[in-house]
Symmetry: C2
């Protein structure tokens, strides 16, 4: 294995038992920052994400984008010998990440009590839909369920349409990131106390942490926040508009600086004398009328022209990019936020880059996502001193 | 000031110059974990968020939910003496967070070169729309613009409707969290090298990091991911359905385990013999027909009944909660994820809790969001040894 001693967490050993997105992404962030992250999978099919579409040459894109920089080993937890191997590995680990249904680790003889007795320095990062206990703990939970139950769906989408899921699993991402922060905080404590701890992260909690002002607004003002499409809640014009070429732009120009500039740039000077659009509250009250007029103007101009003209006023205005446009964005290329990683089977895999741009110790790509069990022998030999003979026997027996 | 020595970052001193959400939320996470976070604001109006609606007794809910556990001081950066005070404070700080337009800190004589020369141990966490350099660096950027330009809007919403913004500023949240992780990574490096570094985070980068498989799908398969409403991309039935009482539920039951169970629970057994719905690909191909049938059934049953019945099959199913329902959720109460904080002016402020549940050193609430400049004298005395007379003079002169 290639070790990077200058990486922030180059000395960290992580066992990543997690599946799908929230857990694997947490593990990948640590791996990007230098940690030796061992992805632990079941033999045969491996992690559930390996079978998800879309696939390229038999490799799941899901698996590829959430597991770079990791090594993979297989353990069949239905066999007590595999559970014992996990406990042996824990002896050498700093962090264990898991997102099984609460109670599963306990059934495997690998609950917090057991693992922390084996290794008091361990940080165990547990991720679940609702948390390890409480009335809903045993319910199946994932990103969509958390978007639904947190109220986030109820505040997304058109006011006359259904509550709407975001097009990305942003609760999973937030949970991955919160879990990473909590893990690093626990490691910091360990430097002082010599002891690890268990972290109990829930998708629903993370979703609720992103309700902005909706909770105090509900409880303190009795106002239930609802969805408002692309319209800004507190100013107008601020919306998505379709342009002459069928593309869409987002324009936010409701304040007293941008509104007159935008109106003049569009040659709609008459709006400045219209009493309906005099102040911010006036414009908000008459947003329908105002945005209809702006929308008519937008329909007569192509997106590029709109963005250039409106951009020149200083008002935030952007073309709403489609994904084929995003991968061409010169700023993203300049930043290295879209990168290529060579994979032995899938070929050149293009994906998002190393999001955290650090001047002295930037995250790095050291390897592509592993194939299933690619490093089983390597890791068992390296961490536990297993011989080739032992590993062959365990493989034959279906333990690995 | 109340210090918590057992907090993970109880010894950390942070200057938070940031405004709105991404920066302040980063500072608040560090503050929740025990750091002494000093919010630096302009005299008079203070941070921009202080004037945002909604307000309770003259206090902005935005300000309250992103600034708990911080202290506030005022500095008028138009005065060179304030810039000098900032440089003095930097001498004592571990971290500085800022989200001005790139170049602003440099104009204040507080660029990275200057600050790192003053304090080589400083970690400077910079957050901007597009990053500190590159062709788009000077454009105004915030959450909505990042959702638009990253393609996230293009994959959110109804396929026949406009591209759609999520109802929350989830790019801001992700950026706050990535910035926190990067800051903690830099602090870890500093423990080894004694030297800080500068971190250059961009909303657009963070947004792009959440495109899941869309980038490789575009580049490797030539498929442009588009929006698909609430429908799952790879299975059916999996959608939001309106129920008899007008509420909505999310049901995900497309796999071969859940589909037969759900169909039987609904008394729609005939669907099991329908060749259109035999396999996962069959059901996906005929999703319109299948979800119309399920949808008709949903319209005849109230949401609570649907959730109970479908939940008993093991299929993920949840009521899509409105915010008034969310604040009553028993799991969130059990987890302490909705909490009350006393504020001297606003009264009891109800907001999201301490999302990271750590067993040994949980984050804590030590104080509500500060009023503007509440701690100016306290901090200048504590950090820099300023006398009352000096502080009065600087206040009179409009420096503070």
């Amino acid at each position: 294995m290639q070790k990077d001693r200058l990486a922030p967490f180059g000395d960290l050993k992580v066992l990543d038992l997690s599946r799908f997105i929230a857990g694997p992404h947490c593990g990948m962030i640590l791996a990007d920052l230098g940690a030796d992250v061992i992805k632990v999978e079941k033999p045969g099919a491996g992690e559930e994400a390996r079978s998800l579409p879309p696939q390229v040459k038999g490799e799941s894109l899901y698996l590829l984008v959430f597991n770079r920089n990791k090594r993979s080993i297989t353990l069949n937890f239905r066999d007590p010998r595999a559970q014992e191997i996990l406990r042996e590995l824990v002896r050498h680990a700093d962090v264990l990440i898991e997102n099984f249904r609460p109670g599963t680790m306990e059934k495997m003889g690998c609950g917090w009590d057991v693992l922390s007795a084996i290794n008091p320095r361990l940080v165990m990062t547990r991720i679940s839909g609702f948390g390890q206990d409480g009335p809903l703990a045993q319910r199946p939970g994932f990103d969509g369920i958390a978007q639904a139950m947190s109220g986030l769906m109820s505040i997304t989408g058109d006011p006359d349409g259904p509550p709407t899921e975001a097009g990305t699993f942003f609760v999973d991402y937030a949970t991955a990131l919160y879990s990473t922060v909590a893990t690093l905080a626990a490691l910091r404590v360990r430097e002082q106390t010599g002891r690890g701890q268990v972290i109990d992260m829930a998708l629903l909690d993370c979703a609720v942490s992103m309700l902005v002002t909706a909770i105090p607004q509900q409880v303190m003002l009795g106002e239930t926040m609802m969805r408002c499409g692309n319209r800004d809640r507190y100013s107008s014009p601020a919306n998505a508009f379709q342009t002459a070429d069928g593309a869409w732009v987002l324009l936010v120009a409701g304040n007293d600086v941008h509104f007159p500039r935008v109106v003049k740039a569009a040659g709609l000077d008459a709006l400045l004398d219209d009493p309906r659009f005099k102040t911010i509250p006036d414009r908000l009250k008459n947003a329908d009328a105002l945005e209809t007029i702006i929308g008519e103007w937008m329909k007569q101009h192509p997106a590029e022209e709109v963005v250039e003209l409106m951009g020149s006023t200083g008002a935030p205005c952007a073309k709403i990019a489609t994904i084929d446009e995003v991968v061409q964005n010169p700023q993203l290329r300049h930043r290295g936020q879209i990168i290529d990683i060579e994979h032995p089977k899938a070929g050149t895999v293009t994906m998002h880059g190393l999001t955290m741009k650090m001047s002295e110790t930037p995250p790095s790509i050291r390897r592509p996502a592993p194939s299933l069990g690619e490093h089983t022998a390597e890791v068992l030999s390296e961490w536990l001193g297993y011989t080739e003979g032992q590993i062959d026997k365990l493989t034959e027996d279906g333990v690995l």
